[in-house]
Amino acid sequence: MNWNAHLPALLLAVPLFGAFASPVLSPFGRTTRNALLAGLSFVTLLVSLLLMKSVLAGGTAVYVMGGESTGLALPLGMKLPIRIIMEVDAFSAFMAVCGTVASFAGALFSMNYMDKFTALGRFVSLYFLLTLGMLGMMITGDIFNFFVFLEIASIASIGLIAFWRDRPEAVEASFKYMLISQVSSMVFLIAAGALYGKYNALNMAAIGGLIKPGTMEKLALVFLVGTLAMKCGAFPLHMWLPDAYAEAPSGVSCLLVAVSQASLYGLMRVCFSLYGVNLGGAFIPWVIISMGLASMFFGVTMAVVQHEIKRLIGYHSVSQVGYMLLGLGVGMLVLTDARGMAEYGFTAIKGGMFHIFNYTMYKALLFLAAGAVYYATGKRDLNELGGLARRMPFTTGMFVIAAAAISGLPPFNGFVSKLLIYESVFAVHPALAVVALVTSVLTLASFVKVFQTAFLGPEKSSFTAVREVPAGMLFGMGVLTVAVLVATLFPSWTISNLVEPAAKALVDQAGYIGAVMGGGL
């Protein structure tokens, strides 16, 4: 049998097996559990890389769960696709690679980081379920299954955010997240139901081929954009995000970064592939651009005043998501305008897409470094930290790389993607680029603050016993550092081999529909 054809299913089956097997295997001891956690995360990473390779070589992969053959989306001359269909184009595969790298790094980090806690069988189970939910959202071709995977990811996150249940803050953060995610998934379900009621189809490609602009479609679009923007942490709806990221164990915060990107993926999939040319004018793109600008500016201004290290990084997530919304929103604005798309729209999409990769890597790395500091010192308040650079040289080095990348210092990868965004959004209106630049400066300011207070300065007498963190945690951070450095040293290779195919797949609505519906309707 041809394993390449089964890669989309294996991408979900491997973490699913991990989630189901961990309660059975974890009583066999620490080594078995850690081997399961790290081994299966690594296998998932390999599968996603192979999937990316096969999609780049062979075009969009369609997988029919339980079908008589893997690609049989329309059996017996049916007009609409049946069964659960996974549709992996280059954009999905790109997101899956970002997600699995973060998942693998978080798993390596958690092996040591979670060591002093009990109930780790449940932890491993929930961790794999969260990975599964995230990957499912990224590769499903079906709007109802997107809702199902959204729920799986939400429920696993709720459990993981409140994993330290003796901390009232963690329970509060988890409850806030539960409220937000349940409301947003219900609204999402209403929108999916509305589309199903009108078009008799749940497959995104099928609906995308049938959809006609109308009042109901606009309403469904508002529901979908609102809920997915809420889940990815855009400005007016971001209040759950710093709490959740700050209170979750660090290995989980690292994965939650990638999970919020899955919601962003859903937002882009809905706008570009489901609605596409039927988006109905410039209103929705401008809403997304405005949300992006507001997220960037308010996120970073709130981050500057924080003094709890993970909370500060959490507010930066809000501002970084703004960059992607800005870049992809500008691309959406010129979706029907071929000249604008060629001049600056496609560059904006490439910038936003590259920023997704960069953001996932360096933000996950920052969370892991903050977790390492907490692990070594037991402190999370910047006012109590200081002089750690001598004690924890590796952590300090990796933190500097991540901080330079997020602040957009040349030559780091954050600079490359931000530059692509600046130069393309400038063509729409200079004010957009100005807000993005100011945000970047403030980001640099706040990370200079973190680096200076936590790592530099005289050694504190309370930290004389502090040691560098164990090897597993360093390896976890190392994986992400390597990813950041690859994108830094080979930006043109990364853009032409990973980002550009993904950007092309995103704007190619006819290709997305044709892969399931057989050459378009």
């Binding site: 189901f20 309660p23 109930a119 330290w164």
Partner: protein, 157 residues
């Protein structure tokens, strides 16, 4: 929760078992009749609710072992996954046991193939999970009444 009167307890002794029989019936016939794995499992899990109401929480909690329900869950989930995985030479979740109606009449494994087995697996999982949920909710009640409360701890060792 305090134990109820001897009448209730006797009726519970007699009839709680029928909930299991009925639940198993719904579960096993799920693929041809209304119901199925989830519904059957939910009916079986009411057994624990019956015992809790009739005999009171303390007695049930001292007799019941959570580990048993964990086992139900684990077996159910793994069987479900393995059945899905066995279809893999064709596709994940492929129904490799299904037969056309003419060949399967009178056979022991019905023509629906893995669907029936998967509904049994789901039934096991739901039985374990819902029973655990009922027991956990009961522990939550004890928390508000100031009874022998386990100290609320994190997972710190």
């Amino acid at each position: 929760m305090n134990p109820l009167s001897v009448v209730v307890r006797t009726v519970c002794d007699l009839f709680a078992w029928f909930m299991i029989v009925f639940g198993v019936n719904v579960l096993l016939h799920g693929y041809v009749t209304p119901g199925g794995g989830f519904q059957g499992g939910a009916i079986i899990a009411t057994f624990i609710a019956f015992l809790l109401v009739a005999y009171g929480g303390r007695r049930v909690a001292s007799r019941v072992n959570d580990r048993l329900f964990d086992l139900f869950e684990e077996v159910g989930l793994l069987v479900f996954f393995i059945l899905a995985f066995l279809g893999l030479p064709v596709t994940f979740f492929f129904n490799f046991l299904a037969k056309p109606l003419a060949e399967s009449a009178g056979g022991f494994i019905p023509g629906v193939g893995t669907v029936a087995l998967m509904s049994v697996a789901v039934g096991l999982e739901v039985t374990g999970a819902l029973s655990l949920i009922i027991l956990t909710m009961h522990r939550g009640i004890r928390m508000f009444r100031g009874e022998d409360l386990e100290p609320e701890t994190g997972h710190d060792r």
